[in-house]
Amino acid sequence: MSTATHCPYCALQCAMSLAPASAGAGGAAVPGGALPAPVGTTPAPLDVDGRDFPTNRGGLCRKGWTSAELLRHPDRVTEPLLRGEDGHFRPVSWEQALERVAHEVRAAQASHGADAVGVFGGGGLTNEKAYLLGKFARLALRTSRIDYNGRFCMSSAAAAGNRAFGIDRGLPFPVEDLDTADTILLLGSNVAETMPPFVAHLAGAREAGGLVVVDPRRSTTAALTADGAGIHLAPAPHTDLILLLGLAHVVINDGLLDHDYVAERTEGLESLIRSVAPWWPERVQAATGVPAVLVRETAARLARSARTGSCYILTGRGIEQHADGTDTVTAAINLALLLGLPGSERGGYGTLTGQGNGQGGREHGQKSDQLPGYRKITDPAARDHVARVWGVPAESIPGPGLPAVELLASLGKDGGVRCLFVHGANVVVSAPDVSAVREGLRALDFLVVCDFFMSETAREADLVLPVLQWAEEEGTMTNLEGRVLRRRRAIEPPAGSRSELWIMNRLAELLEAPSDFPDDPRAVFEELRAASAGGLADYSGVTYERLDAGEALHWPCPEGSDGTPRLFADRFAHPDGRARLVAVRASSPLPGAGPEAGAFQLATGRLLEHYQSGAQTRRVEALSAAQPEVRLSLHPAPAARLGITDGAWVRVRRQPATAAAGGARQGTQPEPVVLARAELTADIRPDTVFLPFHFPGLAAANQVTEQRTDPISGMPEFKTPRVFVEPAVVDPGIDEPTLDRLLPPGTLVPAPREERP
């Protein structure tokens, strides 16, 4: 007896089955059963197995295989914890906890207005939770201040997709379509680490010698281009946009344009031509470090495949998490349109969604400017429709709020948020400039965190509400293809944990909210169907029954339809049906003056073994043993210059040591730094360093990232243009495992630890 569900982690949502744990280590029926038994101390209550499905074809990565170990993990929070005046957490009853929340909400709003209460959601929440959270914020909390961590993830691609196509669905085609491609241009995505089973879909392109990976690192994915499988282009960081303008330049000038497609299906060619005219390959070479010959070769390869085979362009966070992320994705889309790909049978453009429900989570009202069904909150018709479904007057729905970085920057400030709810996010690890975020959380009057572990953010809370894990709940997720999937319960949750739907239901009642807040996922989904009907992301034709019957339903799926696996076959979502070629410009590529000695570009990213802030995967022994600490990838040449050896401790900072010392003397804030071990590798450009962002405290890469954001999408600049690296002397008396929990010396005193009987 096993339960068919999907993996708790990334947007590939690999299908898995969960069965009650067998007595042995599993796999006993197979000869040579050498299943690497989890080394951990936590026995998994369920056996995990891969399940055949188009996205993962039965495969799973290490994260998925070990996911059940977290279900009964000793760190699990299983009762509400309230911080006392002495700073220590103590268990309280659910009744006490919820009364307290209601009291704090009323108090904050009485003295500071409705927008003094804020909500920070997550792209890992089910559609039901994401939907109800948006409704809860607007009707029960009556606040406009809601946004979510998807702002750090998909916002640039979403903005660019909306601008070009009038709609934003990560992959507008099923992932298996990639199998037939003979060329795939993959920009800023390290799928071999982030979603390993996806790599199988690159096999066709690799066989054809057509996997083109754009990454300043020779990442695991870039290395897949070796042995004639493709080309690795390693532009200097922050020059992806120029590279894309250069590819478009070659397509236009070398007559590789799909004239009929562009004439019939797009607008804006003339101004696009003018915008790429200045980027001939040699000028691109000067700015990016990518040889002109490879720019030409890549463009020719793409065009050849687009004409005679099949060609896809895919983007990831590497090119999106920038202050010009929207424009960079736009340039990738423009290239795809010039080649006649989107909506054709010869290829397409897509972005690889990151978080488990990063797609569904951005469609149903967690975004500050959105209502369910991917509706605009400023659109009167959209407001009327949603108000009707909710049974409230349209004017009672607040207007647009603040995007994530601004929302977090407002914490505790005048006119800002005083009382914050955090759901499915670990902002003191994952947001840019985490020291400032931590300061903001500490300046709040009240912080409620819903989590099942004491994440670094939960440690900052006044109240922690224990919620369910994936295998304990029912619901739906929307994967990177826009396909709606069922998540199913395989095990009873701990007695003291509650679903977030239940929490919202109870709180809505205490806060005397209008409308209904069902705590049954199916009932919530029924309401979501109605609320999304007629919107861009229309789920009205999706039902639990259809999903349970195994139907593959991709949105838009209006009532009575079978969904839309492939978008854009006939038209794009703009009123005139045409896609927009939007001319974008690179900001001054050559600053003229050289950087200071010792400055590097910092790229941040992921490791195979960890997911997001690591709050879950760092607790799985096998994963944590494989990647126990943050390591800074550094080229041996600059390392030699800096006197840094492999494995040595280094400090990463925003300013050179001398400037920092001066600042510290006068300034009030100590400078945020990252403490990491150096990992010397020739797989990175000598001018670039890389940090994974899965680690907390001093090991958090986001200590040195900035709050600067994309003006269109609100995406933060996660790839800091300039950091300094220096050898660090670490007191040998400090035991290393605790190092990463240390905070910058001086002001940032660690929060008192939870102490439980």
Partner: protein
Amino acid sequence: MTATTPQPAAASSAARAESPRRVVVVGFGPVAARFVDELRPAAAAGAVELTVVGEEEHAAYNRVLVADLGVGRTSLAAMSLADADELAADGVRVITGRRVARIDRSRRRVLLSDATALPYDRVVLATGARAVVPNLTGLNPDPFHPVLPEGVTAMRDVSDAARLAEAVRGRRHVVVLGGGVLGLEAALAASEEGATVTVVHHGDRPLGRSIDRIGGGSLSAALRRQGVRVAGNARSTGIETGPDGAFRALLLEDGSAIDGDLLLLACGARPRRELAEGGGLAVDAGIIVDHSLRALHTEHVFAIGDCAQVRCADPVCAECTADGRGGAPSGLIAPGWRQADWLAAQFRHDLLGEPRPAPLAPEKPGVILLKARGVNLALAGNVAVEPWDMDPLEDSCSPAPLRVAVWTDPEHGAYVKMATRGGVLEGFVALGMPRAAAELTLLFESGGELPADRSVILRLDGPEAALGGVSGASAGPDAILCRCAGVTHGQVADSVAGGCSTVQEVSKATRAGTGCGGCRDEVRELIERHFASVAA
């Protein structure tokens, strides 16, 4: 144009901060187009009446690609940098196909050849440069009114491109006079597209002083390998024309002649400064401007791009002498575009109150990248120095001597020279090594420090590093075989020893191969090796 009648300048001419309501741009090439584009927001906001006057019928196009147009590799539409209708929609007045006759500075008017007068508060000269017509018998030496015989062309504008196009289409013989960048690019493009091409240059190597001796020799060899004939150390004296008056041969000093159907003049360009000169402005190689791009001793006149020479009134200004050319235009497009961006930002500051731009950084010597398909060449800065040369600065005050590293492989057409001071490039040549060339370009532009081990740069063009590098045969039992599932070689070997005989069985037993699937071949190999050894 629907703009209101221009108001007479009310403010006194001494008031620098006066709002420049009327801006006239003279010239409509790439640099002018960039400037106009950057000033469009101000025009659209009604803060400025912007007029641009171009002599050619076409709106601005990318001159850098003229040779490509000439050999039929691109189209004029694809080279477009501006659209007159779009500009007009933003209130910009675009006048094409008309010459500016003179600038009447006392009355602040620009006078067109048809006597139209355009009053201005500020005038921006972006007149660019014109091809040098060498002093050869048979060619009209008047630089302002070059009337070239049939079969002789420069390579600067669309009509030049049309002449080259005809020769290339007819697979005729093109003689390129001049071994500079433009000449080599045109020669390679024409040759690749089917023409017979001879490059004639004086000196012992093409690119003359820009390249070193070995680099130049390697370049000549590379050109020949591409099918371009190269006639070095050649001094030309005149042209021979046929009875129809068309070019037939280039005559050399030694009495020989090089026959051809088209003579392409690539002898450099000279700033078009005669308008400025006529207006009484200070000129040298170009129109002299100060660091804010204002013509010397003027209030209202600016110059940008190929016609402008940045040399301020301070005779000992370090910035003005830094480039070694006295601020004379480099002929490269990037500095002109930077000037256009900066000046437009300055104007937007004056007009719209936008932040004042940071001072324009002095130009460093530019990187020369040969725009060609068959030959990959990048070079910049001081490349004359050789590995064992004495650095003239070494003995005096310079703490870091100039160091030179060289790699040369004539057989495969590869040559790299890196001249560094304190690890930072002062010059480089990279021929036939595209990835090294790209990296060195970037390092030269950014001023970044080279790896102490210079061979890191050379190895960029080597074979790609093997993924993983560890094959099943040599890996220890604890080495990871499947990264996705974290399975070691030992675990897989144990499962095979325990009876797993297919990849599927090993996957089922160990999870190896269940992620990306990249290790399945290796698992298969292990199985085969196991059973081979059992059988043996």
